[in-house]
Symmetry: C3
Subunit: 339 residues, 3 copies
Amino acid sequence: MRLSELAQRVGGSVAGDGARELLGVATLARAGATELSFFVNRRYRRQLADTAAGAVVLAPGDSGLFAGPRLIANNPYLAFARAAALLHPAPQLSPGIDPTARIHASARLGQGVQVQVQAVIEADAQLGDGVQIGAACYVGEGVVVGAGSRLAPRVTLLAGTQIGARCLIHPGAVLGADGFGLANDRGVWVKVPQLGRVVVGDDVEIGANTTIDRGALDDTVIGNGVKLDNLIQVAHGVHIGDHTAIAACVGISGSTVIGRHCVIAGGVGFVGHLHICDHVTVTGMSMVTRSITRPGVYSGIPAEEARGWRRNVSRFHQLDELARRLLRLERSPKDAHDE
Amino acid sequence: MRLSELAQRVGGSVAGDGARELLGVATLARAGATELSFFVNRRYRRQLADTAAGAVVLAPGDSGLFAGPRLIANNPYLAFARAAALLHPAPQLSPGIDPTARIHASARLGQGVQVQVQAVIEADAQLGDGVQIGAACYVGEGVVVGAGSRLAPRVTLLAGTQIGARCLIHPGAVLGADGFGLANDRGVWVKVPQLGRVVVGDDVEIGANTTIDRGALDDTVIGNGVKLDNLIQVAHGVHIGDHTAIAACVGISGSTVIGRHCVIAGGVGFVGHLHICDHVTVTGMSMVTRSITRPGVYSGIPAEEARGWRRNVSRFHQLDELARRLLRLERSPKDAHDE
Amino acid sequence: MRLSELAQRVGGSVAGDGARELLGVATLARAGATELSFFVNRRYRRQLADTAAGAVVLAPGDSGLFAGPRLIANNPYLAFARAAALLHPAPQLSPGIDPTARIHASARLGQGVQVQVQAVIEADAQLGDGVQIGAACYVGEGVVVGAGSRLAPRVTLLAGTQIGARCLIHPGAVLGADGFGLANDRGVWVKVPQLGRVVVGDDVEIGANTTIDRGALDDTVIGNGVKLDNLIQVAHGVHIGDHTAIAACVGISGSTVIGRHCVIAGGVGFVGHLHICDHVTVTGMSMVTRSITRPGVYSGIPAEEARGWRRNVSRFHQLDELARRLLRLERSPKDAHDE
């Protein structure tokens, strides 16, 4: 595809040779004459100078840093993402049911559904048009998968789980296992029946080996456009608002509600029954112990507004020195200011 | 079921209309006239006032907060758990072997066993009476599963694993993988054979994608009544005492022994070779680096008794301010007390 | 096997009865007269005194602590690991393809390959000589598995993944799922195509339910001799250097490069785009937020050199007391030194 056509389709302008033919995408370091690359991080400035890329996507303000053909966009990473999808389209689905797949007679399948080898579809499941069920997936009783959604191999959707349209779920993800509900009878744990479902919106991506438990009474709800990375734990009754992105290894305890357009970095933990408002960012490995009512960036264990946390952390690294200075003052307060 | 009968069966008393017919359970916010709800958290007091529930389970001291039919119990959550199990009984098992399941000729199956689609049962495995093996489970050589235990779809029990009676294991759990045993030969890691087993007691629940490694020499042991949430790592040679509950994303390093009736919150880490006594609670995302010999609540990185931790954490949030005050004192100690 | 033969084969010397016949290995506490045990941790000195083991592996300096037959080695744990492998050889592979396995016609299989029940091998996959594919494994299109590598049951290798020789991958591991690449279009996340692969060297071990994502553009690379424990997240574009060992529950963010011969303890998190040099040790539950250019031991949140971290942590536990002492000084600086 020519650079000029690409620019038009992803929403950008061209500087330099718009007729440049591009066949794929690559990093600045590896791209060749038929490949498109991108530049967003100033740390890679030297690589930009040295690149052999056929064209580079960059921001208007960086246009002067590169002499070759450019695709100039206000959000270069977004333009690059779209260009990559155009140059590397996902392989076309070949509809059909593998003979080793086990599909219950009462399941309803839309048009153009693909069910791969050894997948299991239980009673009363519904697969929308164009759904792809990967090898060895398990789709439980009454599960609904919306049109265009795709399950990679070995996804487990337990009974009653609802998946919206155009979702992508990666291997090993488990949706609908029982929440961790226990009552204590003089030292012995008694299971609280877990009667809710997992309900996932449209355009959601769920990472490998992530677990989303069914609600205890009400449902566990994942909003539209939510993106979940790998190895995340979403407990029973959690709600995640639309267009929130959560990185790997996050744990969200029961009944916590996370707002829309939040960004949760890796390894963060949330205690249960919190309300996090929209537009909150939590930095990596923080522990959120209280509800958050004001948009912003939060950090730490327990999490506080990130500015304060950073100051306190930098003081923490001086803590031994601070303690020694305090001791010196205590011993000889009159002289301390002379040092 | 009538409220009066329910109260009798779960161990509580009735106030108001004991003839109220109840068909299910629901939250205060959603329950209708034929549904039972419960009240234990004072934060939901408004919802209690507004509920349309047919009856509510609550503690004797809260009985005055609700005018409708009540099921009064000293442990209302426990009574509710039991009522929910009575009103929503688990679907009856239909025994039988799915024709796609692969069962080795030397495996021994008890009465009323169910083996679902595409499950694999290897040589010399033993399944007790009433065991349910979910779709696509892998039951390795010589594995023993006790009577009444239930494996959800896609559980992996590697060779030699022993499971007690009435256990419930969720999808993606892996029991019996090799422990992480390595010796170092001038920079190159040499595998230490992992020769022990995983031995699980009775009435244990194991969450989705949790991993429990086999012992290096001795067994890894999970006591009776232990409840493990999702995405937990239990390393080789760990022992978990009876009736201990562990929330999601906890990691327990090799050979650590956790006592009975402990409660470990989410995201906690234990280093190896520790001994944790009975009746210890560890709060979320703590790191336990030393053995604990006294029952109590522990917190922090590294974990200490929670009272001290909370004080120090609150000081941490003043740390930048403390450092400034110290500097001011150093500069002008005589005047500091005048501010 | 006789102790003398064992010593010769693992590289050690004998003290005492070299004709002692040994059939297996066990802990000091459990070993009997035909079993070999080992002693490396001084905490187990009493067990050494009381052991009924037929022979014990120990260091030259500890030889005097035990009167029975000894295998003396400079690295006793390594010698024990080798002895255990000799006394408990892995069961011999029986080559062959289970009739329920699904192997694409275009896949190429070496000599002596074993493919177990219900495994799936997709188009153009290549399995080297002596490869073992466990029950219900999924080997995607174009995957290469090197000679002598072994996949335990239920491993998922997505399209294009490359595995070297003599690797061992445990159940539930997922290699080659999409990296978490997202661009933001006015609040809505747009997927960035993930076009790289996962490339794993020789002699690598990968733990249960660990996830290694494919690179966005370049590959995610795991070096030779790397050992990964369970439930680890390796994001897109990460490189892990040869002979690095990483314990459970670690998360490594995108494009971070970890050097060779590093040791990463459990629960550690790395932010993205870091460079960690060779021979770095990171202690448990640390968060690495900056590149590390000097070999050594690092700890903390954020990680710093461990010596400083330990001092500051010990001060942290005095923090409330320090704050009170500061307040006292402020109130009465002149008297503080009299206390």
